[in-house]
Symmetry: D2
Subunit: 287 residues, 4 copies
């Protein structure tokens, strides 16, 4: 009996990292290139936008505000996974069209979530990055389907997924031939209830240690509180994140979802200034 180990942590074995995502198989960081924005490079990429596409004005105004503040990619949900069937489920294809229009107007690439294997092709037509949401991290048919694309995939960590399971989910995508995967820590579920989730920033150095894939952080879902987003966004960059995905709404108080965790354009503009300082302090820069 090795009694000395009682107070020691359990250590993830490098050997349990699946081969295609493992840093062992590819010691240099993978770069996922989205219209010249290089996730995994020395530049930090900031994605911002509303939780969901609500209507034409909301998306266009928010997109312009994101662009003007220095955001690089626009987020916005057209198909929304909501806990209740009675909540707003998203605009569907109409939302995708608004996203395409916002891209045309602002020049920002867009990222949006896909939830259904039957809609992967449709969503891929409209978007620059396909997002797999937290609830679908282990939706294997969906992972295989986006693995058959040759487009970047933003894979969010399941709220109850271990680091090992997260990497195995990414492996499903790479195993189909699509190597353009961006990992996203967005908070895990714990006993703590003062925050919406517990943002596990340790996942950033851990994932970058075990895998060559780029890693970004979602401080909006990770905390659930607008006023906490700046602190945790800065902490994420200090911890080594390759990017952030932040909820911004031109009128947070009127948002159909996640208004309480969305920044206003002014708040986002101020945050961008602060983030540049942090990026510099860790020897990086922001696009």
């Amino acid at each position: 009996m090795e009694l000395d180990q009682y107070d020691n942590p359990s250590i993830i074995d490098d050997c349990s990292v699946p081969p295609r995502v493992s840093r062992k198989s590819k010691p240099d960081p993978a770069i996922v290139d989205v219209n010249g924005l290089r996730f995994g490079s020395e530049k930090v990429v900031i994605i911002a936008g509303p939780c969901s596409v609500e209507n034409h004005e909301q998306l266009m105004e928010t997109a312009k505000a994101v662009k003007s503040a220095g955001g690089m990619i626009l987020r916005g949900g057209a198909f929304k996974p909501r806990s209740s069937p009675y909540n707003f489920q998203g605009l569907g294809e109409e939302g995708l069209k608004y996203l395409a229009e916002a891209r045309a107007i602002t020049g920002l690439p867009v990222v949006t979530e896909v939830m259904d294997t039957r809609l992967v092709e449709l969503v891929a037509e409209y978007t620059d990055i396909l997002q797999i949401g937290s609830r679908n991290m282990q939706n294997y048919p969906l992972l295989k389907e986006v693995g058959r694309l040759r487009k970047p995939v933003l894979l969010k960590r399941g709220m109850m997924a271990t680091i090992e399971e997260f990497l195995l989910a990414a492996e499903y995508i790479l195993n189909q031939g699509n190597e353009q995967v961006i990992l996203c820590e967005r908070g895990i579920r714990t006993f703590e209830t003062s925050t919406r989730n517990t943002l596990d920033l340790s996942a950033v150095p851990m994932l970058k240690h075990l895998s060559h894939l780029p890693v970004i952080v979602d401080p909006s879902h990770g905390t659930g509180h607008r006023w906490m987003v700046p602190a945790m966004a800065k902490a994420a960059v200090a911890a080594g994140a390759d990017g952030l995905i932040i909820e911004v709404h031109y009128k947070p108080e009127e948002a159909l979802c996640d208004g309480h965790q969305s920044l206003s354009p002014d708040e986002f503009t101020r945050l961008m200034t602060d983030l540049r300082k942090i990026a510099k302090a860790v020897g990086r820069d922001i696009y």
Copy 2:
């Protein structure tokens, strides 16, 4: 039925914060002064040292290394809470004497843990800050006992404690008249096993929002991996921490406990340089 709330986070009610620790009762941050080092001020305070006091040489050599790298306070355990009765339990009073000697040699104030109500007076004679460890966060007789002192107390968050329970534990100390309490986030227990604990950095802005007490972070216990400590130490300062407590050992590979999560003097020296940059980036400084 308020269906809209299904996807909303649970929000801690300011009203559930107990009165003496609440920021409402004292809008300005409390300053806990330890020999002129002011926790809660614009200066960030770095505590460093070994997990446990092992012998004379180990402590003196480590203390000098901490001092030389710019550490401000020396940590070291004389009474150790170990999961197994067969693990090293600490040197007891002999350890306290070594700490006093290290303080005399280096000029560094010292912090050490007290676990037993019967030993509070003894430990208080030797140390500048008394630490209440994670396992004793809800040891109410002990909280009351250190509450009767007029010495700073470093209260570590229980690995299973909510933010609300953490503040209630601090309230036990303040309620006895001792207002010199420093809160310490040191990682919570979750389902994730790749790290020793899940360092909940969101606790930093949350605690500072709800309470006027200073908040520090322990990235060593929070991660359990030496190589992750720098990333998480930087993230903690970026998130707004008023200080850090870091395990440093002059020969980590020979440590009786926590060697795998202890920095060498060289690693600690490099980290101090990096931390100054982060502190500057958030408008603060390090002593």
Copy 3:
């Protein structure tokens, strides 16, 4: 400030239960009838069979053993959600055909998992109950799709799902018009690692209190240890479960998955005897 509430538990509000699954909307328990086996009645229903359909012999031999021991419904996976893409993914449609053959031979209705919206129709042709697995509990397009069927659905609780989220997932199915939903507690993810999951038997009385839907328990996934299955199966019936779903394999030591948590036919036969005694002790019976 209501200080008295500090030590009180948080209480789920009856009002937060969605309307169609709520017991308030339908005070009598719903009966889900599968070929005359009535889930939710005074009779306890036992489902048993292998984790996955591996080959013809394995399924037929196991099905006969289940039948002979008194099992009432046959389980077996044709499409398997596996954490790693390199694990056995199931036989697919070939597996469905074997299930149909096993039903023809033994007369046992069958239940199998569906993971992909595109396969719902196909799976529904072959099976008596469609299972939505733990990882897909919040796969809303899939929930809607099975909601359009008029066939029983066995909905497993997500390993990270609260009781409230579980009921909301069921509501998605009922909201499409399919009221034949059987809820299944199968263990949640916690910090404890000695068992595969933590079987939350409190969910049985809680779900039956809040909803009119029948509730069954999966002690095989809930524990991950063959030797613990009998104790927890008995506990589940004592707690008021309307049924059990148990992994049985004719040669557990040769199983392609979950062998360590599968009962042999002899073990299952003995368990059936013990379960009848427990069912009697709580005023119920087993078919």
Copy 4:
């Protein structure tokens, strides 16, 4: 890389069980005898009584009700660990005296909690079993102190303690020479909030598998809801528990703490009848 293990549970290694509590060191179950009531025998022992001793009438009336319903041991807290310093902290030594009087009147042995090393001797004078509460499971000085006694100790599992840590805490007591330890599962902390804790009944067969010590269950703290206590009490006995500890109050609606989870004398009387049936169904009996 052993990919097959990805879907397998982590298994507690028998070798990680400390020697004195291990079943390997003592294959037969240990019997802890309290005035002839033998924990760990074929007889199930029922402990009941109020959360805390509130006043003379409350304790005497409740004690008589417990006795009359067939309860065998009286519980009642004199020193109460409360999350808030402003909650009722217990009557202290006065409470111990009332417990002694209740024992004299009813003949029931008593169990009460001790929280402070300085009070172990005092509490031991008045009580038949000393309880170590959940929050003190890793209070090592306290464990050592009760380990020096030669009286039964009821050790409650920490709300965030693994099975391994629980057994190591018991080992601290046995290692001091006191082998009369009764383990108590009382619910662990998880993400689920509809119950006060998540009662981990799997701990019963697991602990009995790994250790020779008797195991009891606390369904009152485990659920936090009076109406759930009977279901979970029955489930605990079905799972193999050697006893139960149940909160009973002669007027639950007036209780100073835990009234919402306390049974009335009538409810407790009915439960005793039901428990006898379950005990019989698993080949045991109730005293």
